[in-house]
């Protein structure tokens, strides 16, 4: 391993600009003549817009324009779309309701935008927005997923507010297995609604170039090319070749910056209308009301086992709240990213999962770190832990009896696991967490009046999203390959253009490590370029832990081509047969001779072309590749959470966290550990703190950092993080992906630990002090009765 190659904990190249305040985030970009946009938003969960009076706002100082949904409709700006078709059990397509970027007739959630004020300054725009008079006729609303079907119908296309009723698996076979089972564990689960809260709020800055009739959008996006495609092909703002989307430094995404949002559409439309740049920067309270939320499932799940704890079948019914409109990829999250993971790490012969997706008068729900897989893992890992406790089998023992042991393994829910060693990660985690010493620690806790619990989560996820043919056959509107272009300069330095996008993942370092190892050149001589549709030809962006498994695989393919071309050039320079040219550590040699040439000599020769016969070899050294993965990848591992609970107050403290993950090949262990830390923190946040609470009138009660409990430093422990390794056979370097694992694994581990400590399974997330204390109180009479 070289000091900067694959496997080295290289310090990040991008950090210098971030730690010196020289990052370039979207809000840091300004354009000459820039105006500011402020949106007028619905204060009601559901209402008819009777009229909008903009006359007073238009007279306010500095106002350039006040635009409404009616004008947007008159200009025939298209609706926002959901790009993944899900088909119901009865064969009918999902019910996608119109989603205009500015509502013209009805508003369907608090925060739904009805007008935009464009002014010289932010303060002037805000002042004027307060003068826009909207006359609403308030309509009854529904926010609770479980009540959606019986609530007032929100969209004409969707009776009973039902988007689809979808199912995966063999219901009859599952029923038969349950009928024959010795033990059945049943759980009712609410997977709490979360708000993504990347610390950088969303921003859109649009500029119109009338000379070329072209638009540029600077945007907080995880996938600028997808944004351009949707805005061109569906919203119809400008054709693709007349729209440039730039996503510069982006301050965290977690899924929420994948989607195409109304604000960016409106800024583009308005920029052309007022013929000046228009910038919108979300305030945090707007982020709460407009960034796509995550999770929000209500589930009943059952696991059937035989007398030895062998799993026979699993079934689940889930109501998934998709909010007021279908966000860009919302439909696939509770279906193909959820039910397909219901087999966990286990050989479960039969699985059946039904999912009803519903509209409610809440912010749209879409992918959030893990997206479907945390929900699936929570169902499976809670069922397994509770089954073990009910059957009197050690939870780890029950898991071991059911682990998938041979690969490839075809689950009953689409996925074909290609590699893994679940015993290895469990064994390592048990040692690292000193599970043997737990009973002693528990006794110590009891001595100082605390309850102590241990919880496991042996999770699996499907990442490396995704094989295009596979997702296409399941309804996805796009292919999920990735592209890379390697441009070698005459002096030998290299620019890599990738269709992935970094918003914290450190691609400028990890992608460069792969190039450094392959070409034998210093990491300083490599630049990674991303996030600009004028530079990178096309790409699918970063989400689903895909940049390593898919993006780096594309880079490896492009490097293969670069090496082949460079060898061709070297054969002419060194006057040898191409087959005799060897390339290692940045040096070309002729096999069996002492003739050699350095990397920089050959790259220069590729461009001066003095020794290249034009009939045989083109000048230049620049190659591109598209990589479409053969399969998903299957990162898996074991997380162990140890908690201490104060029974008097219900306050939970996480005293020990152990993560052992199998991510396949690791490019940079420092970065991988950081991804696990962040993911686990996100999952602990879900388990203990975070909850997007709506009141019965559809007001988001948890609408600021004062009400929505983000994990702070003092809420979290330090983490023990290690890895095991089975390489993914589905991509050239054996990478599996690491960005979501922590968020997927951790909620179940936390709740398993707390329920172990307090001795009752009746516990909902977030397990705040109040929730835990109440659970303890509810359980006490039952416990006393049992004792008597």
């Amino acid at each position: 391993m070289s000091a900067t190659g694959i496997g080295a904990a290289v310090r990040r190249k991008e950090d210098i600009r971030f730690i010196t305040g020289k990052g370039q985030y979207t809000d840091d970009v300004t354009r000459p003549g820039e105006t500011r946009a402020v949106f007028v938003r619905s204060p009601h969960a559901r209402a008819k817009i009777k009229s909008i009076d903009t006359s007073a706002a238009k007279k306010m100082p500095g106002v350039v324009a006040v635009l409404t949904g009616a004008e947007l409709a008159a200009d025939k700006v298209g609706n926002l779309i959901c790009g993944w078709m899900i088909t119901s059990k009865d064969g009918s397509p999902m019910k996608m309701a119109p989603h205009p970027a500015l509502a013209a007739e009805t508003v369907n959630h608090v925060g739904d935008a009805v007008a935009v004020v464009i002014a010289e300054t932010q303060a002037q725009a805000r002042d004027a927005a307060e003068k826009v008079k909207v006359d609403y006729q308030v309509l009854p609303s529904v926010t609770d997923a479980a009540k959606a079907k019986s609530g007032p119908q929100i969209h004409e296309v969707a009776p009973k507010n039902t988007i689809y009723e979808w199912a995966l698996g063999d219901a009859k076979a599952v029923d038969a297995a349950f009928a024959a089972a010795k033990h059945v564990t049943k759980l009712d689960i609410v997977n709490n609604r979360l708000i993504p809260n990347a610390i950088e709020p969303r921003v859109a800055l649009a500029e119109y170039d009338s000379g070329n009739d072209a638009l540029t959008l600077w945007n907080t996006s995880q996938n600028p090319h997808v944004a351009r495609l949707v805005i061109s092909a569906f919203v119809g703002i400008a054709p693709e070749h007349k729209l440039r989307v730039i996503a510069p430094d982006v301050g965290g995404g977690f899924g929420s910056k994948i989607f195409i949002y109304p604000e960016e559409v409106v800024c583009l439309w308005a920029a052309r209308k007022v013929n000046r740049p228009v910038k919108w920067t979300a305030e945090r309270s707007e982020s709460f009301l407009t960034d796509a939320h995550g999770r929000d499932h209500v589930t009943h799940a059952e696991l059937a086992l035989d007398e030895n704890g062998k799993m026979l079948a699993l079934r689940a019914h889930t109501i998934a709240n998709l909010g007021a409109y279908m966000s860009t990829f919302s439909s696939c999250v509770p279906t193909y990213l959820y039910a397909t993971l219901m087999s966990g790490q286990y050989a479960i012969p039969q699985i059946y999962c039904e999912v009803d997706a519903v509209y409610t008068n809440t912010v749209p729900v879409d992918a959030l770190r893990g997206a479907g897989r945390p929900e699936a893992t929570f169902v499976v890992e809670r069922l397994v832990e509770v089954a073990a406790r009910q059957m009197g089998i050690e939870p780890t023992e029950l898991r071991k009896r059911n682990f998938v042991k041979s690969f490839p393994h075809q689950t009953p829910v689409i996925m074909a696991y290609d590699a893994g060693d679940y015993h290895a990660s469990l064994k390592k985690a048990l040692e690292l967490a000193d599970v043997k010493g737990f009973n002693k620690r528990k006794r110590e806790s009891v001595r100082h009046g605390k309850l102590r619990g241990l919880g496991f989560s042996t999770y699996i996820e499907a990442c490396g999203i995704a094989p295009s043919q596979a997702v296409g056959s399941l309804g996805c509107g796009v292919g999920l390959w990735e592209s890379a272009e390697v441009r070698v300069n005459p002096t030998g330095s290299v620019e890599v253009l990738t269709g992935c996008h970094a918003h914290g993942q450190g691609h400028e370092t990890t992608f460069a490590q792969v190039v450094s190892e392959r070409l034998g050149i210093p990491i300083e001589n490599i630049a990674i370029v991303h996030g600009d549709t004028d530079k990178v030809q096309f790409g699918m962006g970063t989400y689903g832990s895909r940049s390593g498994a898919v993006g780096i695989s594309a880079l490896v393919k492009a490097l293969d081509k670069v090496e082949a071309k460079a060898k061709k050039v070297a054969s002419h320079v060194l006057e040898a047969a191409e087959a005799d040219i060897e390339f290692k550590d940045g040096k070309f040699t002729v096999a069996g001779t002492d003739k050699s040439a350095a990397w920089g000599d050959i790259t220069l020769q590729a461009y001066v072309a003095h020794k290249l016969p034009w009939q045989d070899v083109e000048p230049g050294l620049s190659e591109g590749a598209f990589y479409d993965p053969a399969n998903f990848t299957f990162p898996a591992g074991c997380h162990i959470c140890e908690v201490e609970v104060d029974a008097e107050t219900g306050k939970t403290e996480i005293v020990n966290w152990t993560a052992v993950d199998d991510f396949g090949t690791v490019i940079n262990p420092m970065i991988v550990e950081g991804q696990v830390h962040g993911g686990v923190a996100h999952g602990i946040g879900q388990a203990l703190l975070e909850h997007a609470v709506y009141d019965k009138d559809g007001q988001l009660v948890a609408g600021s950092y004062m009400d929505y409990a983000m994990p702070h430093a003092h809420d979290l422990p330090s983490f023990k993080v290690e890895t095991t390794e089975t390489k993914s056979p589905s991509n050239p370097l054996g990478i599996k992906g690491c960005g979501e694992a922590g968020a997927i694994a951790s909620p179940a581990a936390v709740i398993n630990a707390i329920t172990d400590a307090i001795g009752t399974e009746e516990l909902t997330m977030p397990a705040t002090a109040n929730v835990v204390w109440s659970a303890i109180q509810r359980a006490q009479p039952a416990r006393q009765a049992a004792a008597e």
Partner: protein
């Protein structure tokens, strides 16, 4: 509009501001010092932390006019004029204490204030408790805590110029 004068990163600056202009707006929009960020509207995320007369403050809840005659240090003012990084900046990079980088300037400025108040030998509990005013969504804080402990230690070994930002 009233004029305001202050010293920012050692340079005297003046500007015309509205009475309601926040310090962070003055820094970002008037002076184009965009390293100081805004992450919330309730003074809780800490992405906007700067030093006013040597003490950490949230620039999103400070009026520019309140800083008349004050000495402001932002993230851009930490590195030596020659470009060598402040030990706390170094520590964040060395310990992978940042991912997306958005909260980082505020974290570093808050970290220096922790060192000012609590000294160079910081235990984990102290750092975690003192970071109550700063939110990070990427790192899970693990490496931020490590970075602050390491940076504080290095600052303790340095001369008086490395003691604090000002």
């Amino acid at each position: 509009m009233p004029a305001v004068s202050m010293t920012v990163n050692g340079k005297a600056v003046t500007g015309d501001v509205e009475a309601r202009t926040l310090l962070v707006q003055f820094l970002r929009e008037t002076l184009r010092l965009t390293g100081t960020h805004v992450g919330c509207d309730t003074s809780q995320c800490g992405a906007c932390v700067v030093h006013i007369d040597g003490i950490a403050a949230k620039a999103c809840t400070t009026l520019a006019l309140q800083c008349e005659g004050g000495k402001i240090t932002t993230i851009e003012g930490l590195a030596e004029p020659g470009g060598s990084l402040h030990p706390m900046q170094e520590a964040f990079r060395e310990n992978h204490g940042l991912q997306c980088g958005y909260c980082t300037p505020g974290m570093i400025m808050a970290a220096l204030d922790i060192v000012r108040r609590k000294g160079n030998d910081l235990d984990e509990h102290t750092i975690r408790a003192q970071l109550d005013g700063n939110i990070c969504r990427c790192t899970g804080y693990h490496n931020i805590v490590k970075a602050i402990a390491a940076g504080a230690k290095t600052m303790g070994k340095g001369g008086p110029t490395r003691q604090a930002a000002e």
